[in-house]
C-alpha cells in the first residue's frame, strides 16, 4: 500500500454552530481514523520526532502500539514520560516540535502525532482504568508552588519516586493556566480535572487558596519540614500598553477576560455569579494563543465583530497555526500591521472606539522578527465597544519580594541553571513561565520534569553543595 501524503483530517464542530457554544471544537479521531493515521508512521530507526518533544515521548513506540490496537500499552508508553497527555495532545504546538521533525513532512504532511496522542489519552479515559504504579514512600517531603503544568508534572514525577508532595495553589481550583486561561472549547475542564485527579491518586496533596509568599513564605515551608521547594508559579501579571483610555470601562486584560470566562464560568451568568461585559464589537490586541482564545470567546459571547489587532504581519503571529485557522473559520477579522494609540470613551466612560495607526515592516529586531514602524499620518478610528489586551504576561513578584536569596532578572523571571532548574537559593528549584516568561504548557512540563529529576538526585546524594 502506498503511503498517503496527507494526514487524516481531524473532525471538527461546524464553524457556524460552534461560534455560539463553548463545546470542544476539535472532536478527536475515531478508532478507524487513528488506525489509518498511525499506519503512516515509518517507525524510523533514528526518530527525530522524539528529539523534537520537550519531554521526549517515545513517539514511534506508542504509534506502533496503536497499529496493533494495544491502546492501553500505547498510553502507558506516553505516560511514562508525559503526565498530562490529554492536555498535550490538544494544546502543544506540535507543528514546531515533534511534527516539524517528521520525515514524512519533507514530501507531504507529517504524521499527526498530537492527534494520535490525544486519541490514546481519550481512549484511556473512556475505556481504561488509569493505572497507579505501586509507590514506596521514601520519607522525604517536597513543596510545590502552583498547580499548573510545571507544578503538576514535577509533583507527579516526585510522587512516583516516593516523595510526600504537597502543592500549594493560590486560586480555588488546581490547574493553573489550564483552568483559568485556556477555554473550554479548546481544552475541556473535565479533562484537566481528570489529569489533576490522577496526580492526586499518586498521593500528591493539593492545598488550594494558599498563597506562598502571603499565607506562608518559602522559608516557613522549610521550617515545616519540607526538604525541597519547586516554584511553578507561572507568569501571572498582565501587561498593558500604557496608552490613554486603557482604564475605561470595557477594557480588559486577556487574563481578566479569560479568568472570568474559564475559571469563574461567566459565560454561564447568571447561573454562575461572576459577570462579564463583552460587547458587540470586540478588538483583541495581540496575536498569540491567548489572543486567539480571547477573540474566539468574544464571538461565543455574542460579538458581531471579533477582531485581532496586531502591529506586525501574518508571518509574525505567534499563535499555533491551528488556532489561527480555527479563528479564521469562525469569522474573526485580522487587522494586521495595525497598532492602537488611544482608546476613546463615551460620556459615561465606556469604550466607544480605538484610534490606531498603520504600520510597515522594517529591519529585523532583537527577536529576529521584522520591526514594525508606524506610517506617519495613517491614524484612523476603529469602531469598537470592548478592548482586550493580550500583550503577554510577566512573573508575579510576590515570591521574590518575600524570599531572601531568591533572585530574578529585571523583567521578573527567576534566575535558574537551565539544565536543573536550581535557583539562587539552596533547595529551591523553579521552572515554567516563572522562569521563562509566558511560553507553552509543554515547555513548563519539561522544566517540571527536569527539576524533579535533579531534586531526586540532590536529595539522594545528601550533598550540601549547591
Amino acid at each position: 500500500m502506498a503511503l498517503k501524503k496527507s494526514r487524516v483530517e481531524m473532525p471538527v464542530q461546524d464553524s457556524e454552530a460552534r461560534k455560539s457554544n463553548f463545546d470542544e471544537v476539535a472532536l478527536g479521531y475515531t478508532e478507524e481514523m487513528a488506525l489509518e493515521e498511525a499506519a503512516r508512521c515509518l517507525n524510523c530507526k533514528k526518530p527525530f520526532c522524539v528529539e523534537g518533544c520537550p519531554v521526549n515521548v517515545r513517539i514511534p513506540e506508542f504509534i506502533k502500539l496503536i497499529t496493533e490496537k494495544k491502546y492501553q500499552e500505547a498510553i502507558n508508553v506516553v505516560k511514562s514520560t508525559n503526565s498530562l497527555p490529554a492536555v498535550c495532545g490538544r494544546v502543544c504546538p506540535q507543528e514546531i516540535q515533534c511534527e516539524s521533525k517528521c520525515i514524512l513532512g519533507r514530501r507531504g504532511e507529517p504524521v499527526a502525532i498530537g492527534r494520535l496522542e490525544r486519541f490514546v489519552a481519550d481512549w484511556e479515559m473512556e475505556h481504561g482504568n488509569p493505572e497507579v504504579p505501586e509507590i514506596k514512600p521514601n520519607g522525604k517531603k517536597v513543596a510545590i508552588v502552583g498547580a499548573g503544568p510545571a507544578g503538576l508534572t514535577c509533583a507527579g514525577d516526585l510522587a512516583r519516586l516516593g516523595y510526600e508532595v504537597t502543592i500549594f495553589e493560590s486560586l480555588h481550583e488546581p490547574g493553573g493556566v489550564l483552568i483559568y486561561g485556556i477555554p473550554e472549547f479548546r481544552l475541556p475542564k473535565d479533562i484537566v480535572r481528570r489529569e489533576v485527579d490522577y496526580v492526586k491518586r499518586l498521593g500528591v496533596k493539593i492545598e488550594t487558596s494558599f498563597i506562598i509568599g502571603r499565607t506562608m513564605t518559602i522559608e516557613e515551608l522549610f521550617d515545616k519540614g519540607f526538604d525541597a521547594v519547586f516554584i511553578g508559579s507561572g507568569a501571572g501579571l498582565p501587561m498593558f500598553m500604557r496608552i490613554p483610555g486603557e482604564n475605561l470601562n470595557g477594557v480588559y486584560s486577556a487574563n481578566e477576560y479569560l479568568t472570568r470566562i474559564n475559571l469563574m464560568k461567566a459565560y454561564k451568568f447568571p447561573e454562575y455569579d461572576t459577570p462579564i461585559v463583552s460587547g458587540k464589537k470586540v478588538a483583541v490586541v495581540g496575536a498569540g494563543n491567548v489572543a486567539m482564545d480571547a477573540v474566539r470567546c468574544a464571538l461565543r459571547l455574542g460579538a458581531e465583530k471579533a477582531m485581532i489587532v496586531y502591529r506586525r504581519g501574518r508571518e509574525e503571529m505567534p499563535a499555533r497555526a491551528e488556532e489561527i485557522h480555527h479563528a479564521e473559520e469562525e469569522g474573526v477579522e485580522f487587522h494586521l500591521l495595525t497598532k492602537p494609540v488611544r482608546i476613546l470613551g463615551d460620556e459615561k466612560g465606556w469604550v466607544a472606539g480605538m484610534e490606531c495607526i498603520r504600520m510597515e515592516l522594517g529591519e529585523p529586531d532583537q527577536s529576529g522578527r521584522r520591526r514594525p514602524v508606524p506610517i506617519e499620518g495613517s491614524e484612523f478610528v476603529m469602531d469598537v465597544d470592548t478592548v482586550i489586551m493580550a500583550l503577554g504576561t510577566s512573573p508575579n513578584p510576590i515570591l521574590v519580594q518575600t524570599t531572601e536569596g531568591l533572585d530574578a532578572h529585571k523583567w521578573g523571571g527567576l534566575i535558574t541553571k537551565s539544565e536543573t532548574g536550581r535557583t539562587t537559593k539552596p533547595r529551591v528549584w523553579a521552572g515554567g513561565d516563572a522562569v521563562t516568561g509566558a511560553a507553552t504548557v509543554i515547555l513548563a512540563m519539561g522544566a517540571g520534569k527536569a527539576a524533579a529529576k535533579d531534586i531526586h538526585e540532590y536529595l539522594e546524594s545528601g550533598s550540601a553543595d549547591w
Binding site: M216, Y272, G349, N396
Partner: protein
C-alpha cells in the same frame, strides 16, 4: 478550615463574623484583605480583615449585604464553612509611630478602619475618630472605636444622632474651628467612594495628608487580572498588590467610581434572583 465561629448582627444589613483561619490570622496585618467564595457557582470577592486574633487563630470580617455574594454570605451561620478563603492579601497599611491622626469612617468603612485605629492606639498615637452613617441605626462598631480613640465623633446624614451631615463636613468643621491642621500628621479615610472623595477634598483644603483604602472590583486578588486598576498620580496601580491604601489626594476618583459601577446591570439581575430565592433555596 474557614469555619464561622461567631456571628453578630451589627445593623439590619451589616454583619460581623469571626472565622477560624489560623494561617491567615498568623500573617495578617492592618490594611490587608482576603478573597472569598461562598458557593461552587460563586464569584470571588475581596473583604478587608476587620480584626485578627493570632492566639485564637481567627479573623473577623464585617460586611454589608449589598450584593448577591454578600447576601449569600449573610445566610451562613456559626458552624457553617466559607467555601474558599485566601489571604492575607495586599500591602499592610503604613502607619505613623507618633503624632496625631484623624480616622474617618463612613458606613461599613468603619470595619476596615478599626484594625488601623487599634494599631495606632497601641503605638500611642493621639487619635481623633469620626464615624458616620445615613442614620443612627446604621452606625457600627461604636464601642470598639471608642475604646481605641482619644475622641470619637458620630455623624448621621439625617441628624438622628450626633452631628447632622457627612463625616467630611464634620472633618472640615473641626479643621476650621477646633484643630490646628499643622498638628495633624495624617487623615485616614475609609468608606464609599463619594465619602472618601469628599473627605480628601476637605483635608486637602488644609494641606493634610490623607490615606484612603480602595475597594475596587477584583477577581483573583493576587495581581493576575488587573480588574482593580486605579489611577494614582497619573499612574495605573493594581489595588490588590500595590494597595489597597493609597494617597487619597492622588487618586482619580471619577474613574474609580465609574469602574466600581461597571457591572451595575448584572448586579441587578443577580440581586433580583436572590430576592426571589432563585435557584439557591437550599441556602
Amino acid at each position: 478550615m474557614n469555619q464561622i465561629l461567631r456571628k453578630r448582627v451589627l445593623t439590619p444589613v451589616t454583619k460581623e463574623i469571626v472565622v477560624a483561619a489560623p494561617h491567615i490570622a498568623r500573617k495578617a496585618q492592618p490594611g490587608q484583605f482576603v478573597i472569598l467564595r461562598v458557593s461552587q457557582e460563586g464569584e470571588r470577592i475581596p473583604l478587608t480583615i476587620a480584626d485578627f486574633d493570632r492566639d485564637e487563630g481567627t479573623i473577623t470580617l464585617v460586611y454589608q449585604e449589598v450584593g448577591y455574594t454578600t447576601r449569600l454570605l449573610g445566610k451562613l451561620e456559626p458552624h457553617d464553612h466559607i467555601l474558599d478563603l485566601a489571604g492575607p492579601l495586599g500591602l499592610p497599611a503604613e502607619l505613623p509611630d507618633k503624632g496625631r491622626v484623624i480616622a474617618v469612617g463612613g458606613g461599613v468603612g468603619v470595619a476596615p478602619l478599626l484594625p488601623k485605629c487599634k494599631e495606632l492606639h497601641r503605638r500611642g498615637i493621639n487619635l481623633i475618630s469620626i464615624i458616620g452613617a445615613r442614620s443612627s441605626d446604621l452606625i457600627i462598631l461604636e464601642d470598639e472605636m471608642r475604646a481605641c480613640s482619644d475622641e470619637l465623633h458620630i455623624c448621621t446624614d439625617d441628624g438622628s444622632r450626633g452631628f447632622k451631615g457627612f463625616v467630611s463636613d464634620k472633618l472640615k468643621q473641626m479643621l476650621e474651628t477646633e484643630l490646628n491642621p499643622d498638628e495633624i500628621d495624617e487623615v485616614i479615610a475609609i468608606g464609599p467612594i463619594p465619602m472618601m472623595k469628599a473627605t480628601c477634598a476637605a483635608a486637602k483644603e488644609f494641606g493634610v495628608k490623607t490615606w484612603v483604602s480602595m475597594n475596587p472590583i477584583m477577581v483573583d486578588g493576587t495581581g493576575m487580572c488587573g480588574a482593580c486598576r486605579v489611577t494614582v498620580g497619573g499612574e495605573t496601580k493594581f489595588a490588590c498588590v500595590d494597595g489597597p491604601m493609597f494617597d487619597g489626594h492622588l487618586v482619580d476618583w471619577d474613574e474609580a467610581w465609574r469602574r466600581a459601577n461597571s457591572y451595575r446591570e448584572q448586579e441587578q439581575i443577580a440581586n433580583e434572583r436572590c430576592r426571589c430565592g432563585g435557584d439557591r433555596q437550599w441556602l
